[in-house]
Symmetry: C2
């Protein structure tokens, strides 16, 4: 097959707010080759990622992503890896390229899987798609009482694991944080898996983070996520060494395999969190999963948008039975919920798994795409480089 | 002062080719505040960086760069640092943000320096702007004879240092590379400073790079630049440990201070190369320079475009007398040459220095900006988010 077309669809809620909710918009990617259609999704800032595809070349290693994708042969996983390597080299100086390509790469896997009648995880070499324990992400409440109620709601909804994050945590005293952590545990019940995300609040201040370790341990938190700036590897390592039971988690911003490896090797994380919509897609994420296994670290997906992104994010570690925790878009905005026709619903045990259906196993609801479609036009020197494409 | 306006001007040669020459286009940034005007330049892919400024918000930590810049107070270096921190946090998930902000940050320094009648390096705390030894960058020739002639030309032109890069190097046998290195030395003469750049050719293959160390050492190369992918820190470290005289250089792709620190701490480089047009501007570059001093590593600018970018790139280490080597745009394309009205010419000793004039000390040639201006229009939901601004 030859890659005939790559089209982008920018979807958004009518109102996008400053809340830390990544499901308010989406950049859907459609790839056509050999009569098949594949779909993928780039994480964050649709307009900028579109520009990364169509931008005029700056020089030999700052080419638009399109230059390394359109017209390429797509017959095997090796072709996807080859195209990815070409993008990485030819767009070396184009920072956004990794985000732009991530959605395309997912779509290439989806398309190849559909053409072969195989789920992507099987193309990746796995024999089984193991169930994962999804966690519901939610913000810490404004008060400990609100946090407690949030935990209760998630438990009643059948979640065995809950991640609390952002909000007031880390912004006040250790005592205030301790109260929130105890409330989270109380709401979740004694057996719930408690995860905590502080959204880089401490920059690189190891002491500020370490001061919360006793409370995190007492509340039985499994991980503390992103205590520091994603690049503050020394701080991650220092904190990891000071924590006995609570593991440190991070890695969501990694935009290549090396950055994820650094988080493991130099940052000392116990959980490496990979967003397939940023790291360059499913192939690089699978490499990180292999690396994590080799280093005794647990792989986790990072997914806060649609069930298309969720399916893609499950593929790289679908076959790793012992890597069980999974981020699950618990209450996405309507745009993210509606643009897929089917969803990865939790089974009777409250678990989810990468689907058995060919490709990514997700159908697109074109009516919903139309409903949320944002019209974009980019002209350079009076030539239209991008106009929102036809859907049908 | 309040930041009243930030305007982008996309300049390009009529024909942009696939050669590895970053001076074929430019993204010039103009900032207006308190009746003063400052100018800066973003490195690489103008359209994508413009999109990073105007893009609609995706969520609270994926805001357009504009949201953290326009209307801000600008009265001191601390204001620039505060704005930079806001961009970093509020645009955490917008990968291109660092490149977009880099040119803005330069312009903020230029403007503040003009308002105070001080050169930027003095605002950074330096008392003296020391002269640097510029090196002329050129490609390895197709044959060793061509390489030799390239070295001769640079020597006749008064350059004490020359960097050869890319072209055939690393693509053939060790013997072929050895011939090129010997030819480079011969062309340069026995006293010339020889620098070698291989543009990531060996991926993460330490053995392939190590096989060239004897020839590099025999030719008296001071550094071997970017033997590996910019993220392959283990490979950098392994090669650095195996090399006695030839230092390893890298860091140009760093888009935050942490990445540059990783190159020093985990990569073991002897020279850290920082592009102010990528790392977020002059402030973060100065932090890297301080870090390099503390770790016994030599700071070098990475600059392949205009003399505006050159002046900006000299400021962070202007006051470091012992950090003497400087990348110098030796034969930039006309667009990069013409859009500045003045240039940092070499003095009688063949050296260059950050200017004594206020700000960055570079005047813009508006006629040349008009001549090379590329018209851009970006519309989202029928609203024009960007149209090439008026120059006057």
């Amino acid at each position: 097959m030859k890659i005939e077309a790559v089209d982008f669809f920018y979807l958004a809620m009518p109102q996008v707010t400053t809340e830390a909710d990544g499901s308010q918009d989406a950049l859907l990617v459609r790839v056509v080759a050999g009569g098949h259609v594949g779909w993928g999704e780039c994480e964050a800032s649709p307009l900028v990622s579109i520009a990364g595809f169509v931008t005029p070349m700056s020089h030999g290693v700052c080419r638009p992503v399109a230059a390394s994708v359109l017209g390429q042969t797509l017959d095997s996983p090796a072709d996807i890896a080859r195209i990815a390597a070409e993008v990485e080299y030819n767009s070396m100086d184009l920072l956004q390229a990794a985000h732009t390509f991530s959605g395309i790469e997912m779509a290439l896997w989806d398309l190849l899987g559909k053409a072969r009648g195989e789920p992507v995880w099987r193309l990746l070499g796995y024999r089984t798609s193991y169930s994962k324990t999804p966690y519901a992400s939610q913000l810490f409440g404004d008060t400990p009482q609100d946090t407690l109620r949030g935990g209760e709601v998630a438990r009643r909804d059948g979640f065995k694991a809950v991640k609390f994050g952002w909000g007031p945590i880390g912004r006040g005293t250790v005592k205030e944080d301790t109260d929130h952590l105890q409330a989270a545990r109380e709401g979740l019940g004694p057996d719930g898996i408690l995860l905590v995300d502080v959204g880089q609040i401490w920059g690189e201040d190891v002491e500020a983070a370490a001061a919360r370790l006793p409370a995190l341990e007492e509340a039985g938190a499994v991980w503390l996520e992103e205590p520091f700036h994603g690049g503050a590897l020394d701080a991650y390592q220092a904190l990891a060494r000071r924590s006995s039971k609570v593991k440190i988690a991070g890695g969501e911003a990694a935009h290549n395999v090396f950055m994820a490896r650094h988080m493991i090797d130099y940052g000392g994380v116990g959980f490496v969190q990979i967003d397939c919509g940023r790291i360059g897609g499913i192939g690089p994420a699978k490499k990180v999963a292999e690396y994590a296994v080799a280093r005794g670290v647990t792989y986790v997906n990072h997914t806060f948008t649609s069930h298309l992104a969720l399916s893609a994010s499950l593929q790289p570690y679908a076959g790793l039975a012992d890597h069980r925790i999974c981020e699950f878009p618990f209450a996405p905005k309507p745009v993210a919920r509606e643009f897929t026709a089917n969803h990865l619903d939790r089974d009777a045990n409250g678990e989810v798994a990468a689907p058995e259906a060919p490709g990514l196993g997700i159908e697109i609801n074109l009516d919903a795409v139309r409903k949320y479609l944002v019209d974009v036009e980019i002209k350079v020197s009076s030539r239209t480089l991008y106009a929102t494409p036809e859907l049908a």
